[in-house]
């Protein structure tokens, strides 16, 4: 028994050995191409995350300015993550400059100072020293950097595992460069980049809420417009028989389908949009046949998840009701009894038949975000239960005489 277990362990171990040997093979050319693509993707993601950190840093300077009066500041250094080059440095310098220019509340005026970052050598009585302009007291005093700007700002961005960390500090341009302000902020790969507007910087929480609102497209009211076709079940008239005496199913009255244009206002009870409610008004018109209006309301319940999906279509179960008013020859068929000759003559004499009735609806609606929807419904008109003019699509104690589909567009 133990021997068998040991054998099994040996098989599993050898499998792992094969896997690890495969992992050490040199890269193939197509793998190199994939690696380059991956690098490009990482670099673009890194740029966005870095810009996001700068936004947050400048938002901090805007909310709590370091200086009481406007001050000239030199952008003395932007260090990008180790391994990335001058292109990214230039991008971040430009982004930072844009942020400062568009957010005067920071009380900073950026000034150009090539002497600050240039590498210079200075020979003094004690020694010959080399370094960047701002780093050397001797250069600071002789080049007059302090007269150009009073402060220098240094930014450093580094990738630390799943975090991107920004370390910013502001120094006073005088002997030894005392640091007057420092801040460390970080963002994680699990946090989506907020892409804030430079001209209207918001806090991270505000920007995130705005971002989510846009994604969910969740205003308090939305305004759907629907186009729907209502079909009516044919009545089953059994008064005729075939040559063998058997009853035949013959439509006694054919009610033309009604095409409705319905506009409404919809609201939801929570951000998740599990429940929504809608009030709507509709019109229908067919020349020489009918015109009419309806007023109705409906409740929808999300059945495809716990909250509305940001990426996938949602499925709602809908319950609703409406009051409909029709005028014209079609309206003559909306009654329990069959239409008679007197009514047809009256219609031809200009007295148009009218019909008013209520209806109740069950529907399934597939909706893609708050953009488009497609629904299929069954509708019951209790006033015409047992009518000779209507058949039924479903009789579940309540007769459903009408069925149809609607396409909706949200605004």
């Amino acid at each position: 028994m133990i021997r068998h277990v040991l054998k099994l362990m040996a098989v599993v171990a050898s499998f792992f050995c094969v896997l690890s040997a495969a992992a050490n093979e040199p890269l193939m050319p197509d793998e190199v191409v994939l690696l380059e693509k991956s690098r490009a993707s990482v670099a673009s993601e890194l740029q966005l995350m870095s810009a996001d950190l700068l936004d947050e840093f400048v938002f901090g300077l805007k909310a709590n300015p370091i200086f009481s009066t406007r001050s000239n500041v030199v952008l003395a250094g932007v260090n990008v993550p180790y391994g990335f080059g001058a292109g990214m440095t230039a991008y971040l310098e430009n982004h930072f400059a844009e942020l400062i220019l568009k957010n005067s509340e920071t009380k900073m005026d950026l000034v150009h100072c090539p002497e600050c970052s240039a590498v210079v050598a200075h020979s003094g009585p004690r020694a010959t020293i080399m370094g960047r302009g701002l780093r050397l007291n001797e250069i600071l005093s002789s080049a007059g950097i302090g007269t150009v700007a009073k402060y220098a700002i240094f930014l450093d961005i580094e990738a630390e595992k799943s975090q991107l960390v920004l370390r910013g500090r502001v120094t006073e341009i005088r002997e030894n460069l005392p640091i007057v302000y420092a801040r460390t902020i970080s963002t994680s790969t699990t946090s989506p980049v907020l892409l804030r507007s430079a001209a209207n910087l918001k806090s991270a929480s505000e920007a995130r809420q705005e971002y989510l609102d846009i994604l969910r497209n969740n205003p308090f009211f939305s305004f759907p417009i629907r186009v729907g076709v209502h079909n009516f079940a044919l009545s089953q008239n059994t008064t005729e028989t075939d040559p063998f005496g058997r009853p035949t199913a013959t439509a006694a009255v054919v009610i033309p389908p009604l095409v409705w244009f319905i506009a409404g206002a919809e609201t939801s009870f929570s951000q998740s949009r599990v429940w929504t409610a809608e009030f709507n008004l509709g019109i229908t018109n067919q020349v020489d046949s009918h015109d009419g209006w309806l007023a109705g309301g409906r409740f929808s319940r999300l059945i495809s998840g716990r909250m509305r999906s940001l990426t996938e279509p949602d499925l709602y179960f809908v319950v609703g009701g409406a009051v409909t008013n029709l005028r014209g020859s079609t309206a003559a068929t909306f009654r329990k009894s069959t239409i008679n000759v007197a009514e047809i003559i009256a219609d031809r004499n200009g007295t148009q038949p009218r019909a008013s009735f209520s209806s109740f609806r069950l529907a399934l609606e597939a909706r893609v975000k708050n953009r488009v929807s497609l629904s299929a419904f069954l509708e019951s008109m209790p006033a015409f239960a047992g009518s000779q003019n209507f058949g039924t699509y479903l009789d579940a104690g309540l007769e459903f005489q009408s069925a149809g589909m609607e396409v909706g567009f949200w605004f």
């Binding site: 068998h4 990482v42 020293i129 580094e158 630390e160 595992k161 640091i179 790969t189």
Partner: protein
């Protein structure tokens, strides 16, 4: 024999099933695939319970068949192979190591110390990043920090570059001392062995005394 096959089934099937969903290296993922894009940590029992309850994971009414571990993985900003391993490990640990070193240094210095920072590394860019992290960390603790570190003469730097860092730093401290004021201390950060991931620190005073911190 039947017992053997049943036992094998009991071991192998759960192994395969868990391996399919396991982000760690194993049957279905090589170490390269895993380490290049994810930073994983094993959750403790309490963290695991909290996470599962957040995701509405319902336990079986009679308990789980097996004891399971839960590993939380987040994507790395840069894949592992992007930078040299010693540099990657050093830079990835800055936020964890630097505050610790800074606190240790503060414990060994009087309250109103004026700080200067110097970092030593073969790569000047890495040295600058280490120094930046220390300067920012100390400044955030409301300590007075000078951004400039003393600039030594070319001859002193040339002499130091030929020495082992453990021998050179106490000597270099005497050179630095002449640039330091009475309340000033220089915090030096360095690696003793280029292959190690741990940063070390030492303090240099205006009298030229060198003190090893970590």
């Amino acid at each position: 024999m039947l017992i053997f096959y049943l036992a094998s089934l009991y071991v192998v099937v759960p192994l395969i099933l868990s391996g399919i969903f396991d982000p760690a290296p194993g049957l279905f993922r090589t170490a390269r695939e895993t380490s290049s894009d994810a930073e994983c940590r094993l959750l403790t029992g309490e963290q695991m319970r909290r996470r599962l309850s957040e995701e509405n994971h319902e336990a079986f009414p009679r308990g789980e068949i097996m004891n399971e571990d839960l590993m939380e993985c987040t994507g790395r900003v840069l894949p592992m192979a992007e930078r040299r391993a010693p540099v990657e490990s050093l830079l990835s640990g800055l936020s964890a190591q630097i505050p610790e070193l800074v606190r240790t240094a503060k414990l060994r210095a009087p309250e109103k110390t004026l700080w200067r920072i110097e970092a030593f590394h073969d790569d000047p860019l890495v040295a600058e990043k280490v120094a930046t992290a220390a300067k920012t960390s100390l400044s955030e603790l409301r300590d007075s920090v000078f951004d400039q570190s003393p600039v030594l003469g070319v001859s002193a730097v040339a002499a130091f570059s030929g020495m082992k860092i453990t021998e050179g730093l106490p000597i270099l401290c005497r050179e630095y001392a002449s640039h330091l004021g009475q309340n000033e201390k220089l915090l030096a950060l360095f690696q003793i062995n280029p292959a190690e991931t741990q940063l070390h620190a030492g303090l240099c005073t205006h009298t030229g005394d060198w003190q090893w911190l970590l």
